[in-house]
């Protein structure tokens, strides 16, 4: 099918029997999902009215499919809306009805018919050792499939920590030579959406943003959307007050655990992890690990597997006893924890500096400074 035959999202919705009132409601919800003010609604409406459904090729390399599973848990928009109304998911091993050569045929057809227009979504990463034999698809190495499919993509979304950073198969000693997308593909805008997996609404939010604005979201120096990865979990944690007042869980199921005190001493990685867990939360906003008494393991951070053990607290900070006043403790702790996470503060400073110098258009997505 030629691109000129495409239908816009609005046309498709109309054909689904959706009237204009419901269409506007849909756009308002989409805008809200992106955290946009009401002023942006007309922009969303315009985008949905005039843009055809963008073809998406979703490749799976070395991975565990947790990103796909997370994606279908999205509450706004729901997976059905994305699949039927928002994008044209033309290739995805996990959900595809066809199999074998028929799906490879689709991939090649989309690459040809929508040259430079399709979005490449990558879940997992590519093994680079021994000619890429540790992951093959249709008899071809995944590395080759990835490079070939990336060549004519409009942009690449690297889902999850595997595609963004390498994740578990790249953890010491990285036996298959697994490498994230940014180390294998150059000259293409890459959006890193780390997390193991990323939060469902973060994933769908990235897609909806691209669709709405026909542009990549603003990215930080690690190529992550600023809107979802700009905050440390610790800064927005609902247990932060307990940290500041020196009230900690000291052992599983102790008094502090039953009262929901801070998990810092149990190894919580909240102070060094940039993600939206403590703001959007997981599974339709139901909670996040800290909510259920589990310390964060920092799954959205580069190399988090090798920054363990998980239950060892972040630094050997001497935490004052609770006989000090909460204000004193809070002040002291903020300073000391700041030293413990100094590297991240430097990263933050660097990021601020970078955002002054770069706009998303000039390739901040390419930043591979973590090497």
């Amino acid at each position: 099918m030629e691109p000129s035959d495409q239908f816009t999202t609005y046309q498709v919705l109309q054909r689904h029997g959706v009237d204009r009132r419901d269409f506007l409601k849909f756009c308002t919800q989409s805008a809200a999902a992106l955290g946009l003010s009401a002023a942006f609604v007309p922009k969303v409406v315009a985008a949905m009215e005039t843009k055809p459904r963008i073809p998406v090729l979703w490749l799976h390399g070395l991975e565990c499919t947790c990103c796909s599973e997370s994606f279908i848990r999205s509450s706004h928009p729901i997976a059905q809306d994305i699949l039927l109304n928002m994008v044209s998911l033309d290739y995805d091993d996990t959900l595809q009805a066809a199999a074998g050569f028929q799906v490879e045929e689709i991939r090649h057809k989309i690459m040809k018919d929508y040259k430079g227009q399709y979005l490449l979504a990558v879940e997992g990463n590519a093994p680079t050792k021994d000619g890429g034999v540790y992951c093959t698809v249709g008899g071809e190495s995944f590395l080759k499939v990835l490079q070939e499919t990336a060549a004519d993509a409009k942009a690449i979304v690297a889902w999850g920590s595997c595609a963004s950073n390498g994740c578990i198969q790249a953890a010491r000693p990285n036996p298959t030579g697994a490498m994230p997308v940014r180390k294998l593909i150059t000259g293409k805008p890459i959006i890193n959406v780390p997390g193991c997996p990323p939060i469902a609404e973060v994933m769908t939010g990235v897609l909806t943003y691209i669709l709405t604005f026909d542009a990549l979201p603003e990215l930080d120096r690690q190529g992550r959307p600023k809107m979802f990865y700009g905050q440390r979990l610790h800064d927005k944690c609902y247990r932060r007050a307990f940290f500041d007042s020196g009230q900690f869980v000291e052992a599983w199921d102790d008094e502090g655990a039953r009262k929901g005190w801070c998990l810092y001493k149990m190894g919580c990685r909240g102070p060094t992890t940039f993600n939206s867990c403590s703001t959007f939360k997981w599974n339709c906003g139901q909670g996040w690990p800290v909510n259920s008494g589990n310390p964060c393991i920092g799954c959205a951070e580069d190399n988090f597997w090798d920054n363990g053990p998980f239950y060892q607290r972040l630094s050997n900070v001497v935490v004052p006893g609770i006989d000090s006043t909460p204000d004193q403790i809070g002040k002291t702790l903020t300073v000391i924890a700041g030293v413990g996470v100094g590297a991240h503060l430097i990263t933050m400073a660097a990021r601020k500096q970078a955002s002054k110098l770069k706009t998303p258009e000039d390739g901040a997505g390419q930043a591979g400074e973590k090497e």
Binding site: G17, I78, L89, L95, G100, Q169, P197
Partner: protein
């Protein structure tokens, strides 16, 4: 002249699987090979790490079977160290495991398997009023079944098809003669595909409540980290528990109102599929959902045992710690063993990767040589099938009335004998029937939890052995589990507080296994033989049987080894 049909990638599964089937002159499958074409290496990555962290690493073996490897892992560490978890922790883990069964099986049926039986395009010919009549007859308790509702769904499909952008539904096998459902049944199934997609994100909140997120909720060696405080607002309390109860009720509604009725309706149109896909006829279950601790299999809801040669009059015992029972072979796998060894128990196992397959891109594999990253596990030399069918058959043959009742009831409704269970459709039906059991058990486990809380027990973790300094200097353990896809075992060796060795034999390793040294096929391979194909270029029949196992290849091929190192100490599968 034989024809070779290659299906790669096999889609609607987890991971990377390749199937090659060799057809005879009448297009009947005469031989088949199953090849896992990905390989990662989590056991090796685990070497030298803190055993209390292992659950998080293992959980990442698979995000579809999320939770299952984490649970097996904490069980293995607890077994090695000698930790007995509190009763509340056992029940909460059971609730999380059963939630996984229900959610995973519903997704498998509607989103991974249904399109093998349901022709979406045919739904365009359906009469919405007649579809409503059918739906009300098939699932009387399900509320959305009006003609207007099905008319809307039909419109949705029509406009979607008319848009020309068919997305995940393009280039598939619509109109294939193997599709037998009338248009109305197809339309009903599509409607339920969409409803199940909306629902699955709800039930999984049970994992969020106890484990903080899904996929990949958190686990804890020694119990569960979610403390209980019935007088507090920042732990598991009445509000959280009531929400869990509500989600369990919702699960029961969808399983009994939608899944099982749809399964029975679709099955009734495909009677010939009770004669194809039987396979090896040996079934194994480790058993699970403990009521009195993981070390007491006599009080599991799913019993432990083995059935050989479809003989339902005898259940044989299985012992995960016996070096002569569970062993793995690599004769047709891309690994080599040292000193000419042929089969190794997981505690002594070795994985030395040795890719001797064709260099990519390649057109076909050689079934006489090595052809897979999956090993060939065997029980006392026998190939085994694991999974829902194995669990139900072991439960049935063990005389467990709750299991027997659902099986007998379903067979009666379909006018079938137990022999029909040894088939592709039997496997698919078993998954649905055990989901019904799981949904019922969920509420029973919830009631157990409440009863225990009423008795005054709110303990959720045993921290006596939390500090590794309290552990023996050298200890071994194993963690058995029934994952949704079948019998799963983790084996751990702890030395000086660190992981000296970690090995995993997963359900799909059993089912997707290549041939062993004696030429015995794995479960997928054996099940494909004898199936006629209507159109070899459009392999719907292969997909039906392979999907009936619910393959999970990230699980099956998670293993690797550090290259160039001696593997005497680093023992990996």
């Amino acid at each position: 002249m034989s024809t070779r049909v290659v299906v790669d990638p096999v889609t609607r599964i987890e991971g990377h699987l390749r199937v090659e089937a060799i057809l005879d002159d009448h297009n009947v499958i005469g031989d088949a090979i199953s090849s896992g074409t990905m390989w990662r290496g989590i056991e090796v990555i685990l070497q030298g790490r803190d055993p209390r962290d292992a659950w998080a690493f293992c959980e990442r073996i698979c995000g579809v079977c999320t939770t299952v490897h984490a649970l097996a892992s904490v069980r293995a560490v607890e077994n090695a160290v000698g930790i007995t978890i509190p009763k509340n922790a056992e029940i909460i883990r059971n609730i999380m495991a059963l939630t996984q069964y229900v959610q995973d099986h519903v997704i498998h049926f509607y989103h991974l398997h249904a399109l093998d039986w349901v022709d979406i395009v045919s739904a365009l010919k359906a009469d919405p009023a007649a579809t409503a009549g059918l739906a009300q007859k098939v699932s009387p308790s399900w509320p959305t079944s009006s003609p207007g509702y099905f008319s809307d769904i039909k419109n949705t499909i029509k406009k979607f098809v008319d848009s020309g952008q068919l997305g995940i539904f393009q280039n598939a096998y619509w109109g294939h003669p193997a599709y037998k459902l009338p248009p109305e049944a197809n339309l009903m199934a599509v409607a339920h595909y969409l409803e199940a997609l909306k629902w699955q994100k709800e039930v999984i909140k049970i994992h969020t409540i106890f484990g903080g997120k899904n996929p990949h909720p958190h686990y804890l060696v020694g119990g569960v980290a979610c403390a209980i405080n019935m007088q507090g607002d920042n732990a598991i309390n009445m509000e959280r528990l009531e929400y869990v109860r509500d989600l369990i009720k919702g699960a029961q509604q969808i399983v009994e109102g939608l899944y099982v009725p749809d399964l029975m309706a679709i099955a009734s149109f495909y009677p010939e599929w009770t004669t194809y896909g039987g396979g090896i006829g040996n079934y194994m279950a480790y058993g699970d959902i403990p009521q009195n601790g993981i070390n007491d299999p006599s009080h599991f809801r799913f019993p432990r045992g083995i059935i050989l040669n479809k003989n339902l009059s005898e259940v044989l015992p299985v012992d995960l710690a016996d070096a002569n029972q569970i062993q793995e072979q690599v004769d047709h796998s891309w690994y080599k063993y040292p000193n000419g060894k042929k089969a190794l128990h997981p505690w002594e196992g070795v994985t030395d990767p040795d890719y001797t397959g064709p260099q990519p891109p390649y057109a076909q594999l050689d079934e006489k040589a090595t052809y897979s990253f999956v090993k060939a596990p065997r029980w006392k030399g026998h190939a085994m099938e694991v999974g829902p069918l194995a669990r139900l058959l072991v439960g049935f043959a063990s005389g467990r009335t709750d299991i027997k009742d659902v099986v007998v009831d379903a067979l009666g409704k379909l006018k079938l004998t137990p022999a029909a269970l040894f088939s592709t459709l039997g496997r698919t039906a078993a998954r649905g029937l055990e989901t019904k059991l799981a949904a019922g058990w969920l509420l029973e486990e919830y009631d157990r939890l409440i009863a225990n809380l009423k008795a005054g027990d709110t303990v959720t973790a045993d921290t006596k052995f939390w500090d590794p300094k309290t552990w023996p200097a050298d200890c071994k353990g194993f963690g058995p589990e029934e994952a949704p896809r079948g019998a799963l075992g983790h084996w751990i060796h702890i030395k000086d507080e660190k992981i000296a060795n970690y090995q995993i034999v997963v359900p799909s390793t059993w089912n997707a296994s290549p041939k062993d040294g004696q030429g015995q096929r794995g479960a997928y391979e054996a099940a494909l033989i004898g199936t006629p194909m209507a159109d070899p270029k459009r392999p719907v029949e292969i997909l039906r049987t392979i999907h009936s196992f619910d393959p999970c290849l990230a699980c099956a091929t998670h293993v690797t080894s550090p290259d160039g190192e001696t593997l005497a100490e680093v023992v990996v599968r």
